[in-house]
């Protein structure tokens, strides 16, 4: 009984070692699933040392040593496989052998065998896909229990005189088996806890990062302004739990949330030299509060002591910073440092993306405005001149045309929306064509063939008008003979096709880039419906030009 206690006492030393080991950086590789050669070499030396220490901490009995030497080889085997287990066992065994005594050989041999047994368990767990049981205390206990029984058997079989061996085993068997098994189990248990903690921390930081990303990405569409800065700072403050969060532009504080918000006021100029440096050099600056302190330039009683300053940039231009602070009584966690940097980079990318998107939209909008504006003066002049002339002989006709003209311009003004129905588009086009028909008289013939089911089809506003105008302005108005403009809309193969055709055949590929508006129409359709849709031009010089617009049908036809 006393022997058991003394062995447990010796074993306790290992628990201290195990605890320290698990806190050390050498433990980290064990938390991943693959061990590199270098890791195995570290493990070999560590567990060999544990094994040899087990021998030294043993208790001499009858020219033999009651010990906890088995813990090293068995653990090495379970964790690192048969090769590592056997190597550690052999090392511990040879060491024991060198110490002499009538059980020198049997103990040396059995230690090697125990390492092998650990290794076999490792192999078994691997084959049956239960590698997560490597750090299971029950497995460790059972394996050591069994291995120690084998050791006892080897002592009985190999050691001579047999009677001495039997007497020895009677005394040491129970204490050694129990203390070694218990030691291995506890060792593994400490390791498992540490491993779980690592995983939990990793899981928590990933979850936090995703949550912040999810909450912040949505409202950055319009870039960073006073309001989004405050929202952003609140979110980062809530999610990371740091003492305070600030967002600055290049010159002043835009938002400040948390400790010290009484004197760090939004709108005030940047005074911190750390922030100025971060902006000037476009680099992350970290004052951990120990080696380097954050000293508040505003207030002597400011509780903040450590700070992380991460520049927010678009391309290479720093547009501001995001700052995370911790107060004096709190350590700046590495996790928060990584989170801060990660989120800022994410936001920088997002800002770049949204700027790009905004510019793209702006460009299309501008082009569209230009297109709308370009048309009207000449069209207006021509229409008025036609109507002035018609007024002489046919006041009613002139009145009709004025109503069409009014309708055309009202529609042109009113349509701020992105999408219109085909019906709305045709309404405007009809007003336009009525006026042109009056102007060109029998030089212009209009043919319409519209599938009524498509009237509610949604298409980008101002899709038809520029194309019809092309047909008239650049096509038919330059013809000496009779011009025919055809507009048709029909369904084909699951999508809608709208065709605008003239018999002038004046389209030239080279002109299409500037001013004709086909490209803008195409761009807008592709932006809305994807690259499978858009415009296609078919032209036979001096015979016909046909622009075909392809629009998706699903969900749009009522």
């Amino acid at each position: 009984m006393e022997l058991l206690f003394r062995l447990i006492q010796a074993m306790s030393v290992f628990l201290v070692i195990a605890y320290l080991y698990c806190k050390s950086p050498w433990f980290r590789p064990l938390t991943t699933h693959s061990l590199r050669t270098r890791d195995r070499i570290y493990l070999y030396f560590f567990f060999s040392a544990v094994s040899i220490l087990g021998t030294y901490l043993g208790i001499a009995i009858q020219d033999a040593i009651a010990n906890t030497r088995a813990i090293g080889p068995v653990l090495a085997g379970i964790i690192g496989g048969p090769l590592l287990g056997t190597a550690v066992g052999l090392t511990g065994g040879l060491h024991r052998y060198s110490l002499g005594g009538f059980t020198a050989f049997s103990c040396g041999l059995s230690t090697t065998v125990e390492g092998m047994i650990g290794g076999l368990v490792h192999l078994y767990l691997k084959r049956t896909n239960k590698t997560d049981l490597v750090f299971d205390p029950k497995v460790a206990f059972t394996t050591t229990f069994f291995a120690e029984m084998i050791q006892m058997a080897i002592i009985l079989i190999v050691s001579r005189p047999y009677l001495d061996a039997l007497a020895l085993v009677k005394v040491i068997a129970i204490p050694m088996i129990l203390s070694s098994s218990l030691g291995t189990a506890l060792f593994v248990s400490i390791g498992r806890d540490q491993k779980n903690m690592y995983e939990r921390v990793a899981a928590i930081s990933s979850a936090k990062a995703f949550k912040i990303a999810e909450r912040t990405l949505n409202f950055l569409g319009s870039g960073i302004n006073q309001k989004t800065a405050v929202d952003l700072a609140k979110i980062i403050h809530e999610e990371t739990g740091v003492g305070a969060v600030a967002i600055t532009d290049r010159d002043k504080v835009m938002a400040f949330i948390g400790h010290g918000s009484d004197h760090h006021t939004p709108g005030s100029s940047i005074v911190s030299s750390l922030t100025k440096a971060a902006i000037a050099e476009n680099k992350v600056i970290f004052a951990d509060g120990e080696r380097e302190r954050y000293i508040c330039p505003l207030s002597a009683t400011c509780p903040l002591n450590s700070v992380l300053v991460v520049p927010l940039h678009i391309d290479n231009d720093v547009i501001g910073t995001i700052k995370l602070y911790e107060p004096r009584n709190k350590q700046f966690l590495n996790m928060n440092k990584m989170l801060g940097e990660g989120i800022t980079n994410l936001l920088s990318n997002q800002l770049l993306l949204s700027r790009y998107e905004r510019q793209k939209n702006l460009l299309v909008q501008t082009e569209l405005k230009l297109l709308q504006a370009q048309v009207n003066p000449h069209f207006l002049f021509n229409s008025l001149n036609t109507i002035i002339s018609i007024t002489r002989n046919n006041a009613m006709r002139a009145r009709e045309l004025l109503i069409h003209l009014s309708n055309f311009f009202r529609k042109n003004l009113k349509r701020g929306n992105d999408l219109s129905t085909l019906e709305e588009e045709l309404d405007q086009v009809n007003s336009y064509l009525q006026i042109e028909k009056a102007r060109f008289d029998d030089r212009l013939v209009i043919q319409m063939d519209i599938d009524p089911a498509l009237l509610k089809l949604k298409i980008p506003t101002f899709t038809l008008q520029p194309l019809i105008e092309n047909a008239i302005k650049h096509g038919i108005s330059n013809m000496l003979g009779q011009g025919i403009a055809k507009i048709s809309a029909y369904r084909n193969d699951g999508h809608a096709l709208i065709e605008i055709e003239d018999n002038a055949g004046a389209f030239r590929e080279a002109d299409a880039g500037d001013g004709l508006g086909i490209k803008i129409v195409d761009k807008r359709i592709k932006a809305l419906f994807g690259k499978d849709f858009g415009t296609a031009v078919y032209s036979v010089p001096d015979e016909l030009t046909r622009v075909t617009i392809k629009i998706p049908l699903e969900g749009h036809v009522q």
């Binding site: 002049f381 001149n385 002339s389 060109f440 000496l480």
Partner: protein, 235 residues
């Protein structure tokens, strides 16, 4: 005054006709809807004044101005809906220009100008651009032939014909206009030739010669013009 109106839009023609008649100063000889009709009408009617729209299909007002034979040149008033053409019209040195819609007061001024010019009795001369494409009449349409494609141009009692590798086409332009406004060169009283399309010049006795064009056609060279050709070519 005997006036001709040229505009591609029917309502513009009608409106201008009404305005001109209101002044009581004009006889309207005709209303033409394109340049070719205008060339024919001018040959036929020999107007004193031409009211010419700038924006017209195929051949615009400025181009038409360059196609009018000097001997037939009337006083030209440009009519345009767009301000931007006004400056150009002055460059072309026309008598006057009117903006659509035409105001009565402004038109009265134009009438005074016309009256003065006609009383002075001088033949108007306008600088105008060269002809790049020659309008030719086919049965139902108009063909524009680039001057570079032309082999030669010939004239007879029936009219003027443009000859190019693809065939012969009738045109309303006169030899005189084509000689002045294109790079075609006179080689005979009734022929203009495109120097770039000459294959060889065959010299005969008594100072006569023939030109063989690249498409294998032969045209005569008169004594008088051979000299000029020699001067130009140094042979």
């Amino acid at each position: 005054m005997r006036a001709l109106i040229v505009d591609d839009e029917i309502h513009s023609r009608d409106e201008l006709e009404a305005l001109l008649l209101e002044t009581g100063e004009f006889t309207i000889l005709g209303k033409c809807s394109n340049a070719l009709e205008a060339l024919q009408a001018m040959k036929r009617e020999r107007p004193d004044a031409l009211f010419l729209d700038v924006q017209m299909p195929v051949i615009n007002g400025f181009e038409l101005l360059g196609m009018i034979d000097e001997s037939l040149m009337p006083n030209v008033v440009f009519v345009t809906a767009y301000d931007e053409y006004a400056l150009k019209a002055f460059e072309e040195n026309t008598l006057d220009y009117l903006l659509k819609p035409v105001e009565k007061g402004r038109l009265a001024k134009t009438v005074r100008k016309l009256r003065r010019a006609l009383n002075a009795g001088e033949k108007p001369v306008y600088s105008s651009q060269d002809i790049k494409k020659i309008p030719c009449v086919l049965s139902s349409r108009i063909k524009l032939i680039s001057t570079a494609e032309v082999d030669y141009v010939r004239s007879n009692e029936a009219g003027v014909y443009v000859v190019c590798p693809t065939g012969e086409y009738f045109t309303d332009l006169t030899l005189k206009v084509l000689e002045n406004k294109t790079n075609l060169v006179r080689c005979h009283k009734q022929y203009l030739v495109n120097i770039d399309r000459i294959d060889e010049i065959i010299l005969h006795e008594n100072m006569l010669a023939e030109i063989k064009t690249k498409s294998g056609r032969t045209i005569p060279v008169s004594r008088r013009h051979l000299k000029e050709l020699r001067g130009k070519w140094n042979f």
